[in-house]
Symmetry: C2
Subunit: 374 residues, 2 copies
Amino acid sequence: VWRLPARSSEVPVHPPGTADKDANCLGARLDRAIDEFLRGRPGLECAPELADELRAVATGPGKRLRATFAWYGWHAAGGPLDGPDADAMVRALVGVELLHCCALVHDDVMDRSRTRRGRSTCHVGFARRHGAAGWSGDPGRFGDAAAILVGDLALAWADDALVEAGFDAVRLRRGWRPWRAMRTEMTAGQFLDVVAGARREESVAAALRVALLKTATYTVERPLHLGAALADAPPDLIRLLRGFGQHVGLAYQLRDDLLGLYGDPRVTGKPVGDDIREGKRTLLMVLAVERAERTGRPDVASLLRSTFGNADVTHELLVRVKAGLHEVGAVRAVEQRVAALTARGLRILRRAAMPEAARAELARLAIQAAERHR
Amino acid sequence: VWRLPARSSEVPVHPPGTADKDANCLGARLDRAIDEFLRGRPGLECAPELADELRAVATGPGKRLRATFAWYGWHAAGGPLDGPDADAMVRALVGVELLHCCALVHDDVMDRSRTRRGRSTCHVGFARRHGAAGWSGDPGRFGDAAAILVGDLALAWADDALVEAGFDAVRLRRGWRPWRAMRTEMTAGQFLDVVAGARREESVAAALRVALLKTATYTVERPLHLGAALADAPPDLIRLLRGFGQHVGLAYQLRDDLLGLYGDPRVTGKPVGDDIREGKRTLLMVLAVERAERTGRPDVASLLRSTFGNADVTHELLVRVKAGLHEVGAVRAVEQRVAALTARGLRILRRAAMPEAARAELARLAIQAAERHR
């Protein structure tokens, strides 16, 4: 079992951020590729609402994090950034983004989330249209059904994007292994997340397992693995990239936990305290409960327990929760873990043989994941 | 736009049914292949409930209709029934079955169906386990979440099964076109179905569109197309097989509509009147409403309208609905259409150049689809 590293005060240093240009360039290429892919899909003429919604989700203001990690995994393994192979890779990244659209849309149904990236979630939007049209039946059920179908479409089309990207059979077979793992782990991670909520799970091990599957693996490690495998990376490089990805991915999730409570909702696009309303056993929260009990603050522990899953939690209660997390030292501890994980990831990164430009980009992404505000 | 053919009294004749052996043989091979595929899937050790549920759905007492049509589409195009290529094809059929598992599990969530193939539906089963375990939160929401994830897993693994079946790149590319269409059309068909219910759609054209997408195309035409394409069929054969499939598939759906009301629930595995409870605008029902109005039976028309979507419809009311459908001649008309569609399909089948054994099997399947009791 992989474990959280011990705390450390080591603080990562910003690498030279000269490659911003490349990242921007990837964003524009990816947007074009998503647009081209969605334009070229027959079979939905009779249900354009599904395709329109998927387009809105896929081209919305996301961070394209998974595609970016896959792109630099490819680059790290010597994959070209221009030319026909690079174009195939960008088309494969459309698959990575569409897969994530499925995850977002379906997770939002399961979690009953109402806002995502500053926009109504898919099921809420369809429910609203049902209500506005005065259709029969329950708008909520209609919204859920439509969102389930948008997610299914995204998942099926994600595979199409990879299969049709233009790789030869050997490359495709190499890439399919991490791709297959990524989709299975995405599903397993979300299931464990839902189960943890239902069981009022409080163990750090369970929260860690969810964070590892849903974020460390699905968001960072597997995209890096996919990109590297498609570029025919040697096993050693894949191993180091995956190790780097696990550390950075876990740091990303811990930062996410913090942003969910302390972030600016105008910047994050999510209301403060959504994890609490949904009863999510985030690592931040289970670490805080554990700390509260260990440091003789049962009042904070029971405050946290009583707010889990409280859909109508008040602003005042959230303020008390936030203060409680500070008082038991949970915020500081998690900040330290984020820094330690990032440092450890960067150390692994330094050991891997790769073009220096790719290393600088990956370092930049790692630090961005840890220090971001959205 | 493809239209329902004019009524005809032509009744199809049973072809020699000597090939039952082959079909049984396919069933056993497919079961083994499903089992092998599911055994060989890593990544779900931490969420075995998902894999167990998918196994139960995939290996349950289904008709394997889509896989069977794909298999004989393959055979019609000269694909071997034994040897390594045939084995690859059987592994691809696992994908066809898994895709259908996704459709079943997700449709059941959307339709709130409680029983399927004589067993609790996936979301109902998970909700019950949630309740029995005394977990927190709403059991229904938990059941839905788990079922969405089981369906996602089935969809992702369906693609894995096709990609990993063992076809070379050229064959895989040929097969991917109908496969891609099949998945998109499946989603579009279910969306139109849900929308038709919400809009209280009564037009025959809308009901026909749903039946064409959900059943004629997804269940018969595309599986035939997939099998034929994987066996490198010439365009003419593909065209005729698809035409055959559309007619047979529509007949299948009309039979399904009838069985839903007049079938034996112990044989069909579904309670009588589920379509009515769910407010489904089946072809049978919209044809009946149209007929009732045209033949001066507004009482029957309003009886039908008032029962659509009545989740608590009584046995007595169902008996009245069933009698009403007979009285306005809807049952007889639909039976005639089933026979006419089957006859037309069989005529198309006779025009296609293919091994006689494949033709006999396809004819047998067409007649079984039209005359089945479950």
